[in-house]
């Protein structure tokens, strides 16, 4: 051990001679080769990621309507107005933006817990030691995740709009709604069914007062029936990916721990509640934060299934940003929305990376300590 610690500072002080020789000697061409190797990938990332982001940032400060180029000197700039309009100006832009924020809030509120719970259930079921045909079930649950979102959404359009689901519901005596065409909020429907409030004649205290261009009645609507259909589609599609993450974590949990808890007489539920779930906590954190990050990005399904309708109840921020530019030609507003969305997603991402890095570092340190201790003991006995 003593020799190891003595050697370390020696290595870090660096013999200047040896170092210089490295640059010109056998590793000489590395400097040019290194840049030669990374430059194609770097150039592509600069041209198609970094530069476009800067261009859109510029456009977000302008009034560009799609005619001519926004990259000329006499283009009218509007400062931060495209951003402030989203929050402070009572107009259609803010109303639409806030509607999309409300929609995505309810969407996230349902998608994240549901897909996490479904993914964990699928993983626990597939991980069962006695299960026959494990591979088959795992493939069946994972398959939608590898399929194109367009193909999957097409299938779901048939299920929801083509009458397949309602035909099943009819067999058990339920008259299904018109799913993707139904704009009623489920919370509003529920209040109506319980005779607390009439959706057709909402209480004036809620309907006549509001916040950021939406009335309280609209804020509290809950997801629309159409949005629930999209939520079901997304949960169904993505649960398989998260199931794999849970499965990998479950396989890392040592068999000894499971056996020990069985010997201690823990029931299956107790094992899950007090042994497995606490050990899966880091994975759970990963799945929940990945779910949050993904939820704010929902685009394909909205574009394909509802185009934001009915009654804008499935409008998502990403889709609204797209249509503001490509359909309404308000490129500045669309870009500003994209950057607000960017900021929100980056906050989640940085938060996740921060927590995960902390944990990884702690784990690495622990491992290092153990290794050092083991080395010291090994040195002692020999």
């Amino acid at each position: 051990m003593a020799t190891v610690t003595a050697a370390a500072p020696g290595a870090s002080t660096n013999h200047p001679a040896r170092r210089r020789r490295r640059g010109t000697g056998i590793r000489g061409p590395e400097r040019t080769a290194g840049w030669f190797f990374v430059s194609p990938a770097v150039i592509l990332l600069v041209v198609f990621l970094a530069v476009p982001v800067l261009m859109a940032l510029w456009v977000s400060f302008t009034d560009w309507n799609g005619i001519g180029t926004p990259f000329r000197l006499n283009i009218p700039t509007v400062g931060l107005r495209n951003y402030t309009d989203l929050f402070t100006k009572d107009a259609l832009t803010r109303r639409d933006f806030m509607t999309s924020i409300r929609n995505i809030f309810y969407y996230t509120l349902l998608v994240v817990p549901l897909q996490t719970a479904l993914a964990l259930s699928l993983a626990l079921l597939v991980n069962g030691k006695m299960l026959k045909g494990k591979g088959f079930f795992r493939s069946a649950f994972y398959f939608p995740s590898v399929t194109s979102s367009v193909a999957i959404t097409t299938v779901f359009l048939f299920v929801f709009n083509g009458g397949a689901l309602n035909a099943i519901l009819a067999k058990v005596g339920i008259h299904g709604p018109e799913w993707l065409a139904d704009s009623n909020g489920v919370v509003q429907n529920l209040l109506g069914a319980l005779h607390i409030a009439d959706p057709n004649n909402p209480p004036s205290a809620l309907a006549n007062h509001g916040f950021l261009s939406l009335s309280w009645w609209e804020w509290l609507s809950g997801p629309s029936v159409a949005m629930c259909a999209i939520i079901a589609l997304v949960v169904w599609t993505t649960a398989g990916t998260f199931m794999l993450i849970f499965l990998a974590a479950l396989q890392d949990i040592s068999v000894d721990i499971e056996e020990a808890s069985v010997l201690d007489g823990a029931s299956a539920w107790q094992r899950l509640r007090y042994v497995l779930l606490p050990m899966l906590k880091p994975t759970m954190f990963l799945v929940v934060t990945l779910g949050l990050i993904g939820s704010w990005q929902v685009f394909d399904q909205v574009y394909l299934a509802t185009q934001g309708g009915p009654d804008k109840t499935t409008l998502s921020p990403a889709y609204l940003s797209y249509t503001s530019g490509f359909k309404d030609h308000s490129w500045g507003v669309g870009s500003a929305m994209a950057f607000v969305l960017f900021a929100i997603i980056i906050i989640f991402t940085l938060f996740q990376r921060f927590i995960m890095r902390d944990r990884d570092e702690a784990r690495a340190k622990r491992r290092e300590r153990q290794a050092r201790r083991a080395a010291a003991q090994g040195g002692g006995t020999s």
């Binding site: 590395e30 990332l45 259930s121 493939s139 979102s149 794999l244 299956a268 940003s321 490509f326 490129w331």
Partner: protein, 299 residues
């Protein structure tokens, strides 16, 4: 000594074991019931998709759940797709072209860059790697307008290069390859280096053949990613002659043809678009699963 330990353990757990046996039978039964239900939820939509592809339009509308097409007909589905006027054959050819170019390009460029970041010492290496990590955090949907702006500016909007070039930029692939190269031993490379092989020769004939598992994973991720890509190509082209399969299908699904109609056509189009990925998935499942877990790390 071992015998007594063994014996006592059996005796201790003997009594509760019997009670547990009855309960665990019920648990296993319930577990299977839930499993079969969920498997149906996952398989029935695909089953309906396949069956409906062989139905007539009126049959699909009247009996959406029936599993036997009556009559069996492909005239309104696959038959119509095969006709050039549907746009499907052209979209298929475009998709194949884009997927081959993007997958080949990504695998080559990502492993080059990943190798350099893992092994070669050059000034700015840390900065490049930091930038790659940062770029990976940029969500694709906020790039829709930016991508359109740059393609428009450099004058390739609505061309084949616009379909391919933006998809070649792939920070996550570089990251995966770097992680892989860092996990393999340098001894063979050092030996080859002493034998006097140049850096590119070394990379091409010594390093790449050793990287097969990572290359397969990356190939699958790129194939699946470019074959399925929708939103990024949506903002790159607008003429139907450049449509890839997802764009073609998206146009069909959102088109003015009416929501209640054309399901045999739409579903058979979706089915044909799914088959290549499904085949690859069936053949190389474990690589898909590895790719999914590596994808998760990138966040």
């Amino acid at each position: 000594m071992t015998a007594t330990v063994h014996g006592s353990r059996v005796r201790r757990s003997d009594a509760p074991a019997k009670a547990r046996h009855g309960r665990s039978f019920l648990a296993v039964f319930l577990g299977y019931a839930v499993l079969v239900f969920l498997a149906l939820v996952y398989l029935v939509p695909f089953l309906l998709q396949i069956v409906t592809s062989f139905k007539t339009q009126s049959d699909a509308a009247a009996h959406p759940l029936s599993l036997i097409p009556h009559p069996i007909s492909t005239k309104n589905s696959i038959g119509r797709l095969a006709n050039g006027s549907s746009g499907f054959p052209r979209a298929l050819a475009n998709s194949v072209l884009v997927t081959v170019l993007v997958t080949g390009g990504r695998v080559f460029l990502d492993s080059l860059a990943g190798y350099a970041l893992a092994r070669l010492r050059f000034p700015g290496r840390r900065v490049v790697f930091g930038a790659i990590l940062a770029v990976m955090a940029v969500p694709g949907v906020v790039l829709l307008i930016p991508k359109f702006l740059v393609l428009n500016k450099i004058g390739i909007y609505d061309t084949y290069p616009a379909l391919v070039l933006p998809l070649l930029a792939d920070a996550a692939g570089v990251f995966i390859m770097k992680q892989f190269f860092e996990s393999v031993s340098v001894t063979i490379e050092e030996a080859a280096r002493i034998d006097g092989a140049g850096t590119f020769r070394l990379f091409w004939s010594v390093v790449l053949p050793m990287a097969r598992p990572a290359l397969i994973t990356l190939t699958i991720l790129s194939f699946q990613g470019s074959w399925n890509e929708f939103s990024q190509v949506l903002v790159s082209v607008q003429s139907s002659q450049y449509y890839t399969l997802p764009l073609w299908l998206g146009n069909l699904v959102t088109g003015s043809l009416g929501a209640g109609t054309q399901y045999p056509l739409k579903l058979s189009g979706a089915l044909l678009a799914t088959i290549p990925v499904a085949l690859l998935f069936a053949l190389l499942q474990r690589y898909f699963i590895r790719g999914a877990n590596e994808g998760a790390v990138k966040g």
